[in-house]
Symmetry: C2
Subunit: 315 residues, 2 copies
């Protein structure tokens, strides 16, 4: 398989991307070819310095970079030679099977939705985040940012996408789906949650277990938690600070709190597009890059995006 | 001043209420009379056993109890001799100056809104929660549950209520008001947040500092965080689990994580009603009761409810 990696995305690019790639190659035994997309005058010397020399590495020159503060649609249109634009061209033409970038999130989302396109029948793609469970398992929450205002049917679609992702990527058979809400009983919540509950309850393709409250987020009630992207984004960013709180209080290297650190899960996949697209944190470290490449290979191997598309065709 | 305390509310009532009251009397030097409202056959022997014998204690017999699962409006109407119904009668007639209960939250809210009434000009009251800051200070978030769906003007009103509460109760001069959102820039967010931002920006009676993300919740950017009651409820319940997470990982007695434990701030005040009404957790311990009584005296002393009413009259 061929994975595209934007070498220019992230605050510490391209150095951390190079180091993360080196680590990935050292531990990965699969037949993976990495397309390193970036400014070759910057990337080539680093690949040489860090001895990332493998026949499975292809450097694709991208002389332009989309900055963090650029307008996504405009930048993507005008900077055709940027690493993000080239990445999506390679993905759309099938030269790579997955694309990873820690660059401008907006540009990544525009690229994912307009170059790769949403799967048929889906209202809009979403982005998911990881929830470390107290029992050692890993859950997920979606949407975490792409859809600030949602219709009930969108939350139902997130449930389907999340259920498949949990099965194929998190290896959870028959994942339990919970609706993020302010109370346990049906009928609780804002208008969106109230209208979503009966739709989830009647969806035969998911294992809906009811409402999940803020206090149950890290517990074992649900594997997949669905909510609008506004609530999900706030919850995910808050969860990420749990690691920082523990660090501040000198609770270093706790196995559980460490799992809240973004770099341990790498990046967030865009779900509901035809091919794997992974968004990295702006502060992505080498470890985050390694984990994002790992996740991309897993998404390609399991063909989870096609499974999602099939599921919407069938319904 | 006269404080009404529902002795029958909470999973461990009336025992924990009695113990909490004893502790309050042992540390409090103010002239406070406590009206203990509850079943005298249960309360009287406990007051005797724990030697809570003070001329400032008045036992008010309430033979009925509203259970946790009863319908709030129906129960309050039918059980006129319940501790909650009697508490609100005493509050409405001026016999007590504040009312505290760890009982049925719905019944407490119905009582607060229909017996005591919302202050004039306010769309609807709200409930606030405490946010422990990493720098040792204490912030607040509102609404945390009463208004699952909000209009922009409601969030503006929460900002005014929160600003006054922060000044008078949390002793924060010129409190910084933040809008809970998914990004820092104006224009970010769901439709509600987008429409609320310019209203907060133009409100001369508050010190609006802009958007606050999930990651900034425990930081020092804002003292008062406003949001709809759906988001706020999830955020508050999630914050409360931070204490449990630390306990689970054997980080006992950490000064900061302990501040996330509900009993250390006692209860949540209903804001926007004419008199102090404080809601306790169902699991309220003696310490929680002590802190709720303490908070009630502070709300009566500072006359914060009247300050809130004046502020809406003026505008």
């Amino acid at each position: 398989m061929n994975i595209g990696l934007d070498m220019m995305g992230g605050d510490f690019a391209p150095l951390e991307a190079v180091k993360g790639l080196k680590k990935f190659l050292s531990v990965n035994s699969h037949a993976v070819t990495i397309f390193c997309i970036g400014d070759e005058t910057l990337v080539q010397p680093l690949l040489a310095e860090y001895e990332v020399l493998s026949p499975n590495i292809h450097l694709v020159h991208a002389p332009e970079v989309i900055g963090y503060n650029e307008h996504p649609t405009k930048a993507l249109k005008e900077k055709q030679q940027s690493s993000i634009a080239i990445g999506f061209q390679l993905l759309a033409t099938g030269k790579i099977d997955a694309f990873i970038s820690a660059g401008n999130t907006g540009a990544m989302l525009v690229g994912a939705m307009f170059t790769i396109k949403a799967i048929e029948g889906l209202i809009r793609p979403c982005v998911s985040g990881i929830v470390p469970k107290t029992n050692g398992e890993t859950g997920m929450i979606l949407d975490v940012g792409l859809n600030a205002d949602c219709k009930p049917e969108q939350l139902n679609q997130f449930a389907i996408l999340g259920s498949l992702y949990a099965q194929y990527i998190l290896n959870i058979p028959n994942p339990k789906i919970g609706l993020l809400n302010v109370g346990e009983e049906e009928g609780k919540g804002n208008l969106l949650a109230q209208a979503t509950f009966p739709i989830l309850k009647e969806n035969p393709s998911i294992n809906f277990i009811g409402n999940i409250e803020g206090r149950d987020l890290f517990g074992t009630k649900a594997d997949v938690i669905v909510c609008d992207g506004f609530t999900g984004n706030i919850v995910l960013k808050m969860a990420e600070t749990v690691y920082d709180l523990a660090e501040t209080r000198n609770f270093h290297n706790d196995e559980y709190f460490n799992r809240f650190h973004y770099e341990n899960y790498g990046g967030s996949p865009v779900l509901g597009v035809a091919k794997p697209v992974i968004l990295g944190h702006g502060i992505s470290s080498a470890k985050a890059f390694t984990n994002m490449i790992q996740l991309a290979t897993q998404m390609v191997e399991t063909d989870v995006c096609a499974k999602m598309a099939e599921s919407f065709k069938a319904s």
